[in-house]
Amino acid sequence: MDPLLVVDDLHVEFRTDDGVVRAVNGLSYMVDRRETVAILGESGSGKSVSAQAIMGLIASPPGFITKGSVRFEGRELLTMAEDERRKVRGADIAMVFQDALSALNPVFSVGWQISEMFRKHRGASKKEAKKSAVELMELVEIPDATNRYRSFPHEFSGGMRQRVMIAMALALDPDVLIADEPTTALDVTVQAQVMQLLENVQAEFGMGLVLITHDLGVVAEQADRVVVMYAGRAMEKGTIDEIFDQPHHPYTEGLMNSIPRLDDLNERLNPIRGNPPDLLRIPSGCAFRPRCPYQQPDCAEVEPTLEFVGDSGRSTACHHWRDAFGE
């Protein structure tokens, strides 16, 4: 059987007046049913752009997918006719956006926005659609769903709005759910609740989940595998345990050191020095080199490709991972 979702050597660039912004540069990963893959990276590393490319949401111009492939159950999405592609959205692959307040339409009630999925995709009558929408709102634990059906997005709290977004994404029982930093805008307790909800619905619906985040702590319990992104590339891939146990890429190590640890409050935080690269002028060779404590002269010349570490399927894109992290 074909894997559920395969992203292969994806390249996305934006042709702006200032030059070509290379947002995604050869990203590859795959997700299967019941599996959670976390895409981890600093702001600007191309997480959202790669997700939008999978969904076919990149406005062109200025955005162009210049290379690569995205296959859903073996079907190539990037070359699919727009009408067919549209039917994949929502029904096969759904997406939850970062800022639910701006991602929901301000002038329609939340119930209307959820039920629209049933009316437009399933041809449901108004009444049926409303019933299904209320059920979904109950599923995502929105209290008093029947009455809240008629409320507008601005009348909800941030956490409730994100639940509305999740309900909308779940409406057609998609096989893949992409959640783009679904909890960044929320405070910590609400964050945990929303993550718990995502875990529950995944257990119930059995979809593959792509969890985009810049905070490894948020996904630590939930993710099966992690893809660490930097400058639009995957720097390291592995299971969550492997990554937590011992990073095999200087960037991953940097990220881990910058997380506050509850078990060692005395340890100082060590943010990664330097700034993320200017995507108009990505350095030659390894994109992380200017910030890397282990850099060697050859890092500027040859761009490292992902190579396997051991035989578990784990991989890292660093020329010197052996010297830096041992076997």
Binding site: A103, P106, F152, H154
Partner: protein, 307 residues
């Protein structure tokens, strides 16, 4: 909402008093002698003159004149012109004419304006977009009387499609002046719809709508348009108020006896009561359309709350 409306209605009272007072003062401080003007070249007997001054309280100081006028207004009396004809009569006769002209202009600007705006906005920088931008800018920058004359000469005289002037031929007589009257607003409506649609097409919720697997038509036509129309409807509401107040230039060019023409005649003949009476009426129309627009605004945008 109900309390808001009541509060707004109460707020109208001081605005109304101040506005009418201002107009009253301005009109009656115009130079010239209205009674003399009434007679034109003919001689005027002193007794007739005295009687007229008496009747129109022209001897009283201005505040007293205004007081008497305002008292009349409370009784629904808009005053009378120097020939004794009640101003409310003039309004009754002229308003339907102005309303017909306004209706033509309004329908014209709503349909063509919104349509042009949408077509331009969905393909920003396309051929049609450039066409709309250039043509609307042209219309906006040409004075309306020039547009009027051009339309008369081209469509009235040369092509003979429409009557050149007057209202003798019924509805068709209103088409050409209505389109001229609506053309500038049409240009604004088209531009406003366009820019508002472009703004909204870039909004996050439009991306969400696309991600929901909706057709492009529904994403643009329902999700983006419903938001884009909020400022357009507001503009149209205010414009409707302006249209109903009469159009002095267009009515004059096309020789249409509407409210605008009546005000114009009143100013020329120095008939203060006519000018003040009709202007007072126009102020009322304006105030109510503005209130209506504000209520409509809250209906269209659920984020707006008046309480």
């Amino acid at each position: 909402m109900a309390t808001y409306i009541i509060r707004r209605l109460l707020q109208m009272i001081p605005v109304f008093i101040f506005a009418t007072m201002l107009i009253f003062a301005m009109v009656f401080s115009l130079p010239g002698d209205p009674i003399r003007a009434l007679a034109g070249e003919r001689a005027q007997s002193e007794s007739v003159r005295q009687a007229l001054i008496e009747e129109y309280n022209l001897d009283d100081p201005l505040p007293v004149q205004y007081g008497k006028y305002a008292a009349g207004l409370l009784r629904g009396d808009f005053g009378a012109n120097f020939r004794g004809r009640p101003v409310s009569d003039i309004i009754k006769q002229r308003l339907p004419i102005t309303a017909r002209l306004a209706a033509v202009a309004f329908v014209f600007e709503v349909f063509l304006g919104v349509l042009a705006g949408i077509l331009a906005g969905v393909r920003q920088r396309g051929f049609f977009d450039s066409l709309v931008l250039v043509s609307t800018l042209t219309v906006i920058s040409i004075p309306i009387f020039v547009l009027g004359f051009l339309a008369q000469v081209t469509f009235g005289l040369k092509l003979g499609w429409f009557p050149v002037a007057g209202i003798k031929q019924g509805w068709i007589s209103y088409l050409l002046p209505g389109m001229v009257l609506g053309s500038v607003s049409l240009a604004y409506v088209a531009r406003l719809t366009r820019s508002s649609l472009i703004d909204n097409l870039g909004a996050d919720y439009v991306r969400t709508a696309t991600a929901k697997g909706l057709t492009r038509g529904r994403v643009v036509g329902v999700h983006a348009m419903r938001n884009s129309l909020i400022p357009v409807v507001t503009y149209l509401g205010i414009d409707l108020g302006a249209l109903l107040g009469g159009a002095i230039v267009t009515e004059t060019v096309f020789n249409i006896p509407g409210l605008g023409g009546a005000v114009f005649d009143g100013v020329v003949r120095q008939e203060g009561t006519t000018v003040v009476g009709i202007t007072t009426f126009i102020i009322l129309v304006y105030m109510f359309t503005t209130l209506l627009v504000d209520i409509l605004y809250a209906v269209l945008d659920p984020r707006i709350r008046y309480d």
